[in-house]
Every structure is written in C-alpha cells, then in structure tokens.
C-alpha cells in the first residue's frame, strides 16, 4: 500500500484547491453585520463558496474598515480587515431610504441566509428584521448576533468583545492569583469565537432546512458563547469553590506550564497522560520521580502543592536546556512541548506555508499579502481565498446587475438619488492610490474594460 504521507499529500494537495468543488456554491447571504463578530461568520461562509453580499452605509461603511493596529495602514487599507472580509461583495446603500429597503426585500427573496449584529431591536425597527424578511421569504434563515441576546432584561445593553469577556467571566480567568490585573483574551477573541459559533449554528440551520424545507430565526449571544467554553460553573456546582487563576500553569494537566529556556525563549510543556509523564521523567533523567508518592498517579500529581513542586523541578531542568533541545526531547520521549510563536514566526513558518494555513495570496487590487486559512483542511471541498477586501461600494454595480438583475439605467438612477453610494476619501474605505477604478472591469458593471 502507498505510504500514508504520500497518500495524504495527494489528498490535500494545495495546488489543486482552486479546481475543487465548493460546499456553498450558489448560497446567497445578505450580511448586515459590522466590526468582527458577525463578519467573521459570513467570512467563513464566503471562504467555503457562499455569495456574501456585505451591506454598508455609503461614505461611512463598516466602522472596522479604518480601525488598524496602531493606526498603521497598508496600501490605504486596514491589513487585518482583509482576512475578516475576504471573498465578499461590497455593496453600500442608504437604509434610511425606502428605495434601498425595497432593494433589500428584492434581494432577500433569493437569499438563503440573512445576518445582522445591530443593537437588539434596531433591525426590527428599521424594517429589516426577521419578521419583515420572513414575510418576503418564509424559508429564510435569519441570525441575530448580539452580546446578551434578543430577549431578557439586558437585551438592550450595547456590547463589545470586552463586555462579553467581562460578563461571561472569561476575563477573570486570565492572570496571576492574588493580583488585580486581568488580561483580556487578545485580538478580540470574544468576537472571533462567537463568530465561529455563529457560522456553526448557520450550518446547523442549513442542514435542517435541507431536510425539512423549514427556515428559522437564530439568536446567538456572545456572552453565552463564551460561557460555553468555561468549566467554572460546573466546577463551582460540585465543589462550592471558585476556580482561582493560575498564571502560566494549567491546573488540570500534569507539569503543564509556560517555561523559559536557557537561551531565553519561551515554551509550553505538558503531559496529557501518565505515559507522557514517564517520557518527561526519562528526558529529565529523573526516573525516581515516578516512584515519588506525590506524583504516583495523575490525579495525585494535580493536587495544588504537588503540582507546584513538580513545576519547580521541570522549570529548573528547562533552565539548563535550549528550547530546541527540549522540543527534540519531547518528540523522542513522547510528551508535549511547543515554542511560543509570535506574529512574525507564524507568518514565516515553513510548515504553515506548506500546509496552506498561511497563504501568500496575490490579489488583483492589493498585490501580495499573507492571509490565514482555516485550521480545518477539507480534502474534497477546501476553503479558499478568492479576493481580499474591496473599497466601499465596489461591487454595487456588479451585484445589482448580475445578482439582482437591475438594468444599467436603473442602477445609474439609484446612484443619482444617492440610494447607493461609494467611499469617502478615508483610508480603509478608498482604493489604494495607484489603483484606477475607472479601468476596473468589476467596478464598471462587469464589463470588459481595457486595462
């Protein structure tokens, strides 16, 4: 039989991705969401082939367009926004006008999914909520994303990732015992995790609709999503105790902590099983620990004082080794260790490039950029990047002509009446300075324009 890794190399061949089928081919999504939470959900659908029409307000657009790290822009765009909005169609229309609403109802007729993350009540008040959309399309799957949910005494409270972290208690779980500093989960994980959950519940609703023909309304709260990931509630219910923070250590696994090596690098190390702990002891040449009563079995070694004693032993050993050596020994002896990877290491990592989880994508408008791909690689229907973010209103004409079926004259009329519009002269909204929109075929009604 063929060698396993030769077989999988063919199965997951990165060069073949562009010719493979897409799960969501022909799936139409109307996306009212903004910032990170909602857009992450629609981005995942777009990565697997859905036609996501992202609706924004002309001249302003999504408030996350200009929100770049440290105010640093890349070709007049926000470098972290490309990943959040890849493969989407960018349409800007003014929801205050009745003509824009009519346009939305018309689009909703052919849509499969609508999602929004306004403050609860807003979408309903604007006439684009579930009750209005389900009248024109009863089979619609409509997802409302919010921090606390669409009902309950806190439903009108506005929220951000930070509030979801604070209200769920996640924020209180990070840091060192006995200190008053609580480090929030970085990079808005309180948006990204619920965003991924939003994509998950949409796939569930789609699966249900494919079986029964039934659409439905979904209410996903950021805070509940984050609470789903904590053992604290059940821990408290059994022990009556609060689970205190544990700094660098993981109190639920043997010898699990972040350590500093002789060459000043940081690594995470842990033993998931007793066998792995044996491996660690032989790597440390401390077999006597195996007969030490404190570490005799897994649950015993997790008791607070035993765990602390063991971490000191392991920490002292790591201080005498270089990081690479510890990881080599981990591999040879079968316990877990991995270096702390930063942005630059992740971007340059050969393995990630070969795996296709960091892709150097060559975009028609922006040129080359490293973007991340999902950690789940599918052998038959992989996700892919087709284009990066686009200026505000870039796909107005393309979408209205090709996906909605308006004529060029009708579109021009909408432009004149300011029902649809484009970008203001702001970074994050406008195209790169070297780019000529008038020569862009997609911007110009999908016509072939001489470049």
């Amino acid at each position: 039989m063929e060698d396993y890794f030769t077989y999988t190399a063919k199965l997951f061949d990165q060069r073949a991705i562009k010719d493979k089928p897409e799960v969501f081919k022909g799936l139409r999504v109307l996306d009212f969401t903004h910032v990170i939470y909602g857009p992450t959900a629609s981005k995942i659908l777009a990565t697997y082939g859905a036609e996501v029409i992202k609706l924004e307000l002309p001249y302003y657009g999504d408030m996350w367009r200009p929100a770049s790290y440290w105010g640093k822009y890349w070709k007049h765009s926000n470098p972290i926004w490309h990943f959040i909005t890849q493969n989407k169609y960018f349409v800007a229309l003014d929801l205050k006008l009745q003509e824009a609403k009519d346009l939305i109802y018309r689009m909703a007729k052919d849509a499969d999914i609508v999602l929004e993350n306004f403050a609860p009540g807003t979408a309903e008040a604007w006439g684009v909520g579930y009750t209005s959309i389900s009248k024109v399309n009863p089979e619609i799957i409509y997802l409302s994303c919010s921090t606390y949910g669409q009902y309950g005494p806190m439903r009108y409270f506005p929220g951000w990732d930070l509030l979801a972290q604070a209200a769920s208690g996640v924020l209180r779980t990070n840091g060192f015992p006995g200190t008053d500093k609580y480090y929030k989960l970085p990079d808005y994980l309180g948006d990204f995790i619920p965003g991924n959950m939003a994509a998950l519940v949409l796939t569930m609703a789609l699966y249900h609709r494919n079986k029964t023909g039934q659409g439905q309304y979904l209410d996903l709260s950021q805070t509940e999503s984050m609470m789903r990931m904590l053992p604290h509630f059940t821990y408290h219910s059994f022990t009556g105790e609060e689970l205190e923070r544990s700094g660098h250590a993981d109190p639920s696994m043997v010898a699990a902590s972040i350590f500093k090596s002789r060459d000043g690098r940081f690594l995470g190390l842990a033993c998931a099983t007793e066998k792995q702990f044996e491996g660690l002891c032989s790597a440390m040449e401390k077999k006597e620990l195996l007969s030490d009563k404190r570490f005799s079995d897994y649950l015993e070694a997790l008791k607070e004082e035993n765990a602390e004693a063991l971490r000191v032993i392991v920490g002292d050993w790591i201080k005498t080794k270089d990081c690479d050596e510890v990881i080599r020994l981990a591999l040879e002896n079968g316990f877990a260790a991995a270096e702390v990877m930063d942005d630059h290491m992740i971007c340059q990592d050969e393995w990630r490039r070969a795996r296709g989880s960091v892709v150097l994508f060559d975009d028609d408008m922006y040129g080359e950029l490293a973007v991340a791909a999902p950690s789940a690689q599918l052998s038959k229907t992989p996700g892919r990047t087709k284009w990066l973010a686009r200026p505000l209103g870039y796909h107005n004409r393309y979408v209205l002509l090709n996906l909605v079926g308006l004529t060029e004259a009708e579109i021009e009329d909408l432009e004149k009446k300011d029902v649809i519009g484009t970008f203001d002269d702001k970074p994050g909204l406008k195209p790169p300075i070297y780019y000529h929109l008038d020569k862009d075929p997609i911007y110009n009604y999908g016509r072939e324009v001489r470049k």
Binding site: Y151, G152, F266
Partner: protein, 446 residues
C-alpha cells in the same frame, strides 16, 4: 409571558428601538426561542464514533454534535480515556474530572481497546461502516497502520466524514516528522500564537512579562469548535452529493487561523507585536480599571463614546490632548499610560454600580439627543464566572441547566448557547460511565 406584560417603560440605550410594525410576529418568534424543549433535532440521522484519545478537542467537537441531536458514541479503552483525569487541581467526582463531565452531553459510552486488540479493531471497523462521522486524535498515520484509517474505512463507507485532530496535521514533512508529538491545550496556545499576545508589558518584572496562558482551555476549545465546523461543511456537502471526505485539524493553527492577525500583521509589519498588558492596540478606553469596590470594565472607544466618558468623569480637560482614536492608542506608550492613570484617578472615586448607572443615564439621553452624538460609553462590573450564573438574564434564557445523573448526582452545566426557533440544541442527559452503552451499541449497530 411576563416579559411582554411589563408596564414600566424599559430603558433603551440606543437610538433605534421601540415596537416594529410586526410586534405580534416578533412576540411569537421570541416565545418559540424561549421554549426549546421537544423540538426537532438537526442531526437526529447522524451517528458519530468519537475515538479521540487524551485530546479534549475531539471530545468538545463530539459534544457540539451531540447537543444538536447526533448519536455520539465515545469509544475508549476499558480503563477509560486519559481525558477523564484532566481536571483543575485533581478535583473529581468518583474519579471523573470536571471538564469531562461538562462535555458528557447526550453521549453514549463504549469500551474498545483499538490500540492493543485486533478483535476490537474489527468491531470498530464494523461500527464504522454504519457511522456518518469519525473523530480521532491518534498520531498521523497510526489509524491507517491499524487498518482503521480514512483510506480503509471510506472504501466500505463512501459517505464517511473522517475528522482527524493532531498538532501538525496529516500531511507535510513536518506533520510526518512530528507525528509522535502529543496535543495539549497549553502547547496549542503557545504554538498557535495566543500566548505571545497575552501577558504584561516588557517593562514589568519577570515572570509577569512572560507570554501568558489563557486561563481556560482556549486552544482546545478553538480546535474543537473548528473540528465541528469543518465536519458540518463536510456533512452539508455529503447531503448534496453523498460523498464523504477527510477533515484535518492542526492544533497549532488554532489561534492564528481563527483571528488571522498573526499572518497579516507578521507580513505587513515584518516584526512581531510587543505585549501591551492591559492596553489595547486599536481601542481606548477598552479594558478594566480599579474602582471603589473592585474592578470595572469600560469600553468607550469611539470618539463620541470617549467624549461621553470624559463628561461622566468630569475630565473634559483631557479632551484636547486625546480627541481622536489615534491619540489614545499605545503606539506612544507613555502617552497612553498617562491617560490610563488619569482615568483611574477618577474611577477610584466611584463604585462600579455608580459608574454603570451614570454611563447608562448618559447613553439614554444621548440616544434621544441630536447634540450628544450618540455617545454610548459602556461600563460594567467585572463578573466572576460563579457570579454570572445567578444573573436574571441567564435565568430567563435558560443558559444553565441542572442535570441529574445516577452516578454523578445533581449539578449545573451551561446549556443552549444558541436559541433557535425550530431546531435548537438540547441537553437530554449528562453522564460519564465507562462502557455504559456497550450492549445498546452492539444491539443497535452490529
């Protein structure tokens, strides 16, 4: 329904609210969300074998499927999955750790020693012919060498969705070289870029300025969530074409693939970000401050929100120096820290509840005024997870459920993380007994 009978006018913090023209339809929809019991289950036609070992991502993925109605059979050796023993400070109930109980939703338990017994492997293969999804976490190629890999199982079951979870995946040279390396939460956090971004500033003393670990299992939960999501994509494709496929999860991608920041920032900056402790790269104020009675979270990052906060704290004098978002972000660290200290001086004068009340009052006024620019400064007391349980919001939303098990007794778990009008997730039971369903599974599937 008491929710809709309230006569007192509700506090509304945003500009757009109030009854829509479709209020009765809306009411009907919400009532459906509020009573999830007895509705159809999405995955009631799906059978899953979870044979993952010493890896919680697999258990978590299986748990999500089980909540949506799939029949999930946890396959483990007679002594049980090592995951049963992973629990904070060794706290356990009759030998079962807390995290394992949390994820014991709607599951069936069967004992098969596929690592050592040839006969059990054959039983597993026979079950796999009837399965829709398999979840495993053995070293890449291990299942294949036992004759129970995707290659062999898919020959007799072409619709099979096969989810494999490992640190470095099923292909590439590194995956082969590192196939023996086990997967854990902490190495997933460090290796996928999470730890590098959390922790205190470099100017703080050691070890506080080291890369930190997120307190809960963020690495494993992200991998587990990604596995379920990948599995659902595969199920949807199968629904249309009848074809199964392999879904390969690499734990070392967890964080970097979910946020995408490390790849794109690493590329455009060509240098790593420093750790900035309690500050934020894009938004300010966006974090927590000391107040009279503890800690308070404040998010007032948009310019209009920041102005509102200054009004509340009576520090309009700061407005001139910190007018725009770029004035407040920590690219000039000292400038940002100075603002941080100035704000802390003020928050210390109030309790968390006083500040929250002030912020709410301002927001309500701002929502009705065209002069206040819609400023919505958000202030909230920081909750311990244990305090969150008793909030009326979650009680009304049934976010927690008390379940009763013969062996484990009565306890609380999170439940119904999403509300769905037609096919919501359900918790039918939570149990963990090894080999509990051996007969059930054999009778039904063999």
């Amino acid at each position: 329904m008491s929710l809709f009978k309230k006569k007192s006018k509700e506090k509304v913090y945003t500009r757009y609210s109030g009854a829509s023209a479709n209020i009765s339809l809306w009411k009907e929809t919400i009532e459906k969300l509020m009573s999830p019991e007895g509705r159809p289950e999405v995955l009631d036609d799906i059978m899953i074998l979870d044979v993952s070992s010493a890896n919680f991502s697999g258990i978590i993925a299986a748990s999500f499927f089980a909540e949506f109605g799939a029949e999930v059979i946890k396959v483990e050796p007679p002594e049980g999955d090592p995951c049963r023993k992973m629990t904070p400070f060794g706290k356990n109930v009759k030998g079962v750790g807390i995290p394992f109980i949390v994820e014991g939703r709607n599951k069936r338990y069967m004992t098969l020693d596929i690592e050592n017994s040839k006969e059990d492997r054959e039983t597993f293969s026979a079950l796999a012919r009837k399965a829709d999804i398999i979840i495993e976490s053995y070293p890449a190629g291990k299942m294949d060498s036992w004759g129970t890999g995707y290659r062999q199982l898919s020959e007799k079951n072409s619709g099979l969705v096969y989810i494999a979870i490992t640190p470095y995946g099923q292909y590439t040279a590194k995956a082969e070289k590192f196939s023996a390396l086990p997967d854990t939460d902490i190495t997933t956090q460090t290796g996928s870029g999470l730890s590098a971004e959390i922790g205190d500033m470099i100017t703080e003393p050691e070890p506080y300025n080291w890369p930190l670990k997120a307190g809960s299992w963020m690495g494993w939960y992200i991998s587990g969530l990604s596995a379920t999501l990948g599995g659902m994509m595969a199920l949807l494709y199968r629904q249309r074409t009848g074809e199964g496929q392999m879904v390969d999860i690499a734990g070392m991608d967890a964080y970097s693939s979910m946020t995408g920041f490390p790849a794109s920032i690493g590329y455009t900056w060509d240098t790593p970000r420093p750790r900035i402790g309690l500050l934020d790269f894009i938004l300010y104020p966006y974090g927590h401050w000391k107040c009279k009675d503890g800690l308070v979270a404040i998010a007032a990052a948009r310019d209009q929100d920041f102005r509102a906060l200054l009004k509340i704290l009576k520090r309009w004098d700061l407005e001139d120096d910190y007018k725009f978002t770029p004035d407040r972000i920590p690219d000039i660290l000292e400038q940002a820290l100075e603002l941080h200290r100035e704000i802390e001086k003020e928050t210390l004068k109030y309790t968390a509840d006083e500040l929250a009340a002030k912020a709410q009052a301002y927001s309500i006024k701002a929502a009705r005024s065209k002069w206040k620019g819609g400023g919505v400064p958000i202030v909230m007391k920081i909750m311990k997870p244990e305090q969150a349980v008793s909030m009326p919001q979650w009680e009304l939303r049934k976010s927690f459920k008390t379940v009763e098990d013969e062996t484990l007794g009565s306890f609380t778990v999170t439940s119904g993380f999403v509300k769905m009008s037609e096919s919501p997730p359900q918790i039918k039971w939570v149990s963990c007994d090894i080999g509990k369903d051996n007969d059930y599974v054999r009778d039904k599937y063999l």
